[in-house]
């Protein structure tokens, strides 16, 4: 027997949530789909597959103040750190984005923890929805998760007929349901979609062999360093910190940055240790396939396929993985 929540029951619950705390959910806006605070469940884009922008925006906004400074003349500055006091429910999370949140936790919750990130994590309930379809660019089953994987969520809903099979994964999830009435039903779940496999197993060992492959410069020839891949990626977390000041008030702002930016590693004196496009593009894949796993364990890719969809010059991470494999075979041939 499985717990079942009717569509109507879901809307009643979400309406109640929206009245009590922030409800973050997928919406259509500006011609794309993304996670935003919504006023009522009717605003949620329930009919879409994966969103164009990932759920990371809620925990790691494109830009946010870390603290503000007030200073009169040359007087003692008064620094006020930013805080997050909003309880939230993030609804419509897909397993790939849930996996990405578990990856974000590794750098951001490592001591000393990032205070804003930690507060949002603690105060947000993650309500996932299993994927009914795989998009052509999806490859989550090769990246450590699956269309119906409840890992790293508090609740997982799976569409079934006129409602959802409900799995309360954590106590936090169970509590968030409050007294929402759930039926107990014998449910036949729809078949899980099967994304095409991508050869990511052992990619870190392969990366060690092909660092100097000519492939990187060739691939980078067509990169226009638009940074879209990093912005749509649920796993990319590089950031910049800068000061903005207006009318005597100063904000220290943290904002998204991408390793594809020309100035990403350029030092104040002008020296740039990663000055070629090829080296920068390689950094993107090496951080995902080798450096992040070396530092924290998992590969920093969840198979969501967003970068494949977003790249204006068709740089395809699945193809990159396959090319790396080919290059490694070439290296093996040459060295006997």
């Amino acid at each position: 027997m499985t717990e079942f929540l009717s569509k109507e029951g879901l809307f009643t619950w979400l309406r109640q949530i929206a009245g009590e705390r922030k409800l973050i959910a997928p919406v259509r806006m500006w011609g794309i789909t993304l996670f935003r605070p919504v006023g009522s469940p009717e605003d949620i884009a329930l009919d879409i597959d994966n969103t164009d922008l990932s759920a990371k925006d809620w925990f790691f906004p494109p830009s946010e103040a870390l603290f503000t400074v007030e200073q009169q003349g040359g007087g003692r500055p008064l620094i006020t750190p930013a805080t997050e006091d909003r309880e939230a429910v993030l609804f419509g999370l897909r397993p790939c984005d849930a996996l990405a949140i578990s990856h974000f936790d590794l750098p951001f919750l490592a001591e000393p923890a990032d205070p804003l990130y930690r507060e949002r994590r603690e105060k947000t309930v993650l309500v996932g929805v299993a994927c009914a379809r795989a998009r052509p660019e999806c490859f989550c089953t090769s990246a450590g998760t699956a269309p119906n994987d409840p890992s790293h969520m508090d609740i997982l809903l799976t569409e079934a007929g006129d409602g959802y099979a409900l799995q309360a994964v954590t106590e936090k999830g169970r509590q968030a349901l409050g007294d929402t009435p759930l039926e107990s039903r014998d449910i036949q779940l729809p078949p899980t979609p099967q994304p095409d496999p991508v050869p990511l197993a052992g990619i870190n060992d392969i990366a060690r062999q092909v660092f100097d492959a000519p492939y990187w410069d060739r691939l980078a020839d067509r990169c226009i360093h638009c940074n879209l891949c990093a912005y749509v990626c649920p796993d990319c977390y590089c950031f910049d910190i800068r000061d903005y000041s207006a009318k005597g008030k100063i904000e220290r702002v943290r904002c998204w940055e991408s390793c594809q930016s020309a100035g990403f590693t350029r030092l104040a004196g002008g020296h740039d240790p990663r000055s070629t496009k090829g080296a920068r593009l390689r950094q993107r894949f090496y951080h995902k396939f080798l450096y992040f796993p070396e530092q924290f364990g998992p590969t920093a890719c969840t198979g969501c396929g967003r970068c494949v969809r977003a790249c204006p010059v068709n740089i395809d991470i699945r193809e990159v993985a396959a090319e790396m494999q080919k290059a490694a075979e070439q290296v093996a041939l040459e060295t006997g």
Binding site: L66, F67, V69, Q71, G74, G75, R76, P77, I79, P81, T83, P107, F108, A110, P112, A113, D114, P115, R208, F211, Y237, C238, F239, D240, I241, R242, D243, S245, I250, R252, R254, E257, C259, F264, T265, R266, L267, A268, G269, G270, H271, P273, R274, A279, Y286, H287, L290, Y291, E294, Q295
Partner: protein, 276 residues
């Protein structure tokens, strides 16, 4: 005030003096007595300094912790933050986060001969190394300091040269790229000086800091003098934003300069995938 890892401690400029045309020595006094007491650091470590409203950047600590609570930084005007810091007057407020990073293993250097090679502002993190050795002179072997700069006016810590040169078993070699009438010393590139002086690798370590191009050619000379890679120490400079292993800006291959460094041996650096 609630402290978070991104919020700097407040400090005031206690003194600011010219070291060269474009380098200032800034001495800072942390405001809070508890913070001051807790701010202990080792040669080679760094801190982030904020010119509030302009930005924040990492700078090597140029002082030694055991001498007192005031923090010294040798800052060369190369960017917006360093410019703003160099413009400051005594009494101005500065933000400080740190100390960060690993440090030169001064304990391991005991009883060894030490070759210290600094190019330009690269002398900054080497000054606390020299200071520590001179304050515990008997614990270390012979010291050779080679300091080079573009011109006579670019040699940093000139006021301390006499003290260094006169210390027991300590040799100071200064060199400049461009000679002039007022300069009677060497006009050589640092690698040339290393080749000429032929420091022995026996029971010795080398500590190098300076521009990458200088380090590259000094390493060639050290190689031919048979220095092993684990006898050579350097500090890597890298763009970084947080110092906490989170912003993912300062990696050299799989190593993060802010946490794994900034001090590395050449033996470690040669295993990195990425070469800086």
């Amino acid at each position: 005030m609630e402290t978070t890892p991104f919020v700097p401690h407040l400090a005031t400029v206690a003194a600011i003096t010219d070291l060269t045309i474009d380098v200032k020595l800034i001495r800072l006094e942390l405001e809070d007595a508890g913070v001051r007491e807790a701010f202990k650091y080792q040669p080679g470590q760094f801190a982030f300094l904020s010119a509030l409203g302009v930005g924040e950047a990492p700078f090597g600590l140029a002082s030694v912790s055991y001498k007192g609570d005031e923090l010294e930084f040798a800052i060369r005007r190369v960017g917006t933050v360093s410019d703003a810091l160099c413009e400051m007057e005594p009494g101005a407020w500065v933000g400080v986060r740190g100390p960060f990073g690993n440090f030169f293993p001064m304990e391991d250097y005991r009883g060894k001969n030490i070759v210290i090679i600094g190019g330009g502002i690269g002398m900054s993190p080497l000054r606390p190394v020299i200071q520590t050795i001179l304050d515990h002179r008997k614990e270390y072997g012979d010291i050779l300091i080679i300091h080079g700069a573009r011109s006579r006016q670019d040699l940093v810590f000139a006021a301390e040269f006499d003290t260094w040169a006169q210390a027991p078993a300590t040799r100071l070699e200064l060199t400049v790229d461009r000679g002039e009438d007022a300069w009677s010393g060497r006009v050589d590139l640092i690698p040339t000086v290393v080749r000429e002086l032929k420091p022995s690798p026996e029971n010795a370590v080398v500590i190098i800091c300076g521009p990458p191009i200088m380090i590259k050619f000094v390493l060639v000379e050290l190689e031919s003098l048979q220095f092993a890679h684990d006898q050579i120490f350097t500090t890597l400079e890298s763009k970084m934003k947080c110092g906490l292993g989170k912003c993912a800006r300062c990696n050299v291959g799989e190593k993060y300069v802010c946490q794994d460094g900034p001090v590395f041996t050449l033996a470690q650096i040669s295993t990195f995938l990425e070469q800086f």
